[in-house]
Amino acid sequence: MKERQSLALSAIGLIAFFGGWTLIAMSGMVQPQFLPTPLAVAREFYRLLETPFAGYTLQQHLLSSLGRFGLGFALAVGIGVPLGLMIGWFRTLDAIVSPLFDALRFVAPIAWVPFAALWFGTGIGGPVLIIFSGAFPPCLINAYRGAKFVEPRYIEAARMLGASHARMVTDVLLPASVPSIVAGLRVSAGLGWQSLIGAELIVASSGIGYLMVKGQSNISTAIVMSGMIAIGIVGVAIDVLLRALQARIERHQSGSGTN
């Protein structure tokens, strides 16, 4: 199939989607409160950027969400990656920590919400705890895999050449596990961002999830959809950033790996 034909089909698909949506919304079959036209949603989105809703404008809600996300994600990386490397490297630690971790991993991040509420009220700790519980497992697992599956011949070679334990960690373990760790960061950020939304729907008094809950109780589909759009955009932006980081590190590694 030619490129032009494929582009035309794509355009038809998008037009059909937005056109069908507009038609249903304008036909009067459903009230605009429940299904606004795409244009009305765009207008609402724009309005939320300028006039505060649920206490803040859309950007302020987003900033507050991003602040929580940054904190929870940083904690997950800061604890998960070193811990994962350690249990991948030291066998005794692996035997002690892994069973506990395997059990905890089955608890959905969102199931921490009641404890988050009990321990922190509506303070910042609650959402951060939930983001942490979403973002932590991939950090730990990938660092663990990275450290556990360092090629034995590298370790043997380094040992034979008389590398100290510290040099072993900085020159063998870390470089070998970086690609796996960075891949883990991407998964972790995605899950963390999702968990944040869940947390904010339940325990928060600002943030993009809270804006959506308020829109929901006002029965304003346009506000809810604006929130969904904002969440989607930020999610994609976070992923693009981490993907760029991943590409950079891979380039760096393949560049230095040959000499």
Binding site: M1, Q5, S6, L7, L9, S10, I12, G13, L14, F17, F34, A95, I96, V97, S98, P99, L100, A103, F106, V107, A108, P109, I110, A111, W112, V113, P114, F115, A117, L118, W119, W193, Q194, S195, I197, G198, L201, I202, G209, M212, V213, G215, Q216, I219, S220, T221, V224, M225, G227, M228, I229, I231, G232, I233, G235, V236
Partner: protein, 246 residues
């Protein structure tokens, strides 16, 4: 070694709560956990007994999951086999895909209220996207020469689908299903926490309102257990569906 860890953890947990280093208002002791478990299992808590909560949640997840498989897998297979359909649907799909399942909850509530229908809609969505993507990727992963060989041997369109494409795409499809089952379960718990009349999320929510740490813990244990059981069941189905893979 791992039994030792578990025993040590239990001992530490018991010690920390018995000496009240962790105050009882913040976390439950092992004894309180058992007591709460007995209470919810025998007399009930949050309007129902434990098995009713678990069954209610499991029923909704399976329903939404089944609808997602029935709609997502065929769409993914069709998108993988027809470049026209792919060009037609993919851009719209890409627009919707970055929105996480949990973000659909408020919309589902506005549209369908707090009942079971809203939850099934959100669960459907949570599983739909991964089903489509992985079925699609699965079709694309079928090796070119296998398709060409089948075509040369005169396989009809239906035979091609049944004997070549679907079995070839199966490993990817099941990967997608495993991912989406986990997502379904998370989404359902979130939905039930926000508002429900029954289910494990409702139990958790009630326990949080009552400031009842032992019952929160019971709820979390059963969320984890039910998730693990469902994942194991899917693993069993996967094994049965692809007997040629050991």
């Amino acid at each position: 070694m791992s039994i030792g860890t578990v025993a040590a953890l239990l001992a530490a947990w018991w010690l920390l709560t018995a000496t009240q280093i962790i105050p009882p208002t913040r976390f439950a002791s092992p004894g309180e956990l058992l007591q709460a478990l007995r209470q919810v299992a025998l007399t009930g808590y949050a309007d129902a007994r434990l098995h009713a909560h678990v069954l209610h949640s499991a029923k909704l997840v399976l329903l939404g999951f089944a609808v997602a498989i029935a709609t997502g897998v065929p769409l993914g297979l069709a998108m993988g086999s027809s470049r026209r359909l792919e060009a037609l649907v993919n851009p719209t799909f890409l627009l919707i895909r970055p929105i996480p399942p949990l973000a659909w909850i408020p919309l589902a509530i506005v549209w369908l209220g707090l009942g079971d229908a809203a939850k099934v809609l959100v669960i459907w969505f949570a599983a739909f996207v991964p089903s489509v993507i992985n079925s699609y990727a699965g079709v694309r992963s079928v090796e070119r020469h296998v398709i060409e060989a089948a075509r040369m041997l005169g396989a009809s369109r239906t035979m091609m689908m049944r004997e070549v494409i679907i079995p070839g795409a199966m490993p990817h499809i099941f990967t997608g299903l495993r991912l989406s089952l986990q997502a379904c379960w998370t989404t359902l718990v979130a939905g039930e926490l926000i508002g429900a009349a029954a289910g494990l999320g409702h139990l958790l929510q009630q326990a949080a309102l009552d400031l009842f740490p032992a019952m929160i813990l019971v709820g979390m244990v059963f969320v984890a257990l039910a998730g693990a059981v469902m994942t194991a069941m899917l693993g069993w189905v996967e094994h049965r569906a692809m007997p040629w893979r050991t």
